[in-house]
Symmetry: C2
Subunit: 160 residues, 2 copies
């Protein structure tokens, strides 16, 4: 298995596909993918990196808006609730979801050198954690798994 985010891939297609899914979801589930929300999703999709709310804000404002912090936070909250984006706790940032069709407990792989963030899935990890929660009588509602290290590319380049 290779994880495309860390390598070259058809990024235009990657974006188009996500937007398409978002629109389909919006149509079928009554979500309101307003212009700002849609634009924020596009901005997130432009990079496989976590962007902070203020990064988003900067980019919105570079396009002529006069947006204030709540604008970014509201759009990001909408997107995360809709499963179209995820918050990366470790980075106080957000990434577009790369598998918005299906609900899932994502595992993020954060390269500390190139800052790329890849979304993987690990049913085994999810199951193990569910079992642990169960064993200690804890009723699990949400799960954050974030891994930090080096992506293959950076590791081969002998990153410090």
């Amino acid at each position: 298995m290779k994880i495309s985010v860390f390598d070259d891939h058809d990024h235009a297609r990657c974006i188009a596909c996500s937007i398409e899914t978002a629109e389909a979801r919006a149509a079928s589930e009554g979500l309101r993918l307003t212009p700002t929300r849609r634009r924020v999703l596009e901005i997130l999709l432009e990079e496989h990196r976590a962007l902070g709310a203020y990064d988003i804000l900067e980019r919105l404002n570079a396009e002529g808006k006069r947006a204030q912090p709540p604008t970014a936070y509201r759009a990001l909250e909408f997107l995360t609730r809709a499963g179209l984006a995820h918050r990366v706790e470790r980075l106080n940032g957000y990434v577009a979801c790369t598998a918005p069709e299906s609900p899932h407990a994502p595992v993020f792989m954060i390269c500390r050198k190139c800052r790329a963030v890849a979304e993987a899935a690990s049913d085994a990890a999810g199951a193990a954690i569910a079992a642990t929660a169960d064993a200690v009588d804890f009723s699990l509602e949400a799960c954050v798994i974030e891994v930090e290290g080096l992506c293959g590319e950076c590791a081969r380049q002998g990153a410090v």
Copy 2:
């Protein structure tokens, strides 16, 4: 298995034991457990809850100090590097480590009602995540696993 943090337990002993371990580690590994650092560890040990740096600061200053933010952050950084405390990303907070003897990849169970934070361990989850990282050619260095939900007590009380 029961997780003591969510239930009654001999907390005084729990604190004493951790401080003792910290001192032993300091002696054997050349760590400098200075008065402020030690006091911060004690403060963290007082509750099985995540405290923010500014909570710590407040408590230090309630005791007559005139500490500024960097004082708290420095002590917390020392403690986390030494493995005596952990940062809980989800809460922007810190908890004392409940198993400071051995290095480990902790799993935090965060009760969203009573705010208690329990530290569990799941070798299976760690192994699954390591396998996932390996599969995508990612070289893992650190791993954050944080679970949110309800502890048994709060769940039984019919928490919302």
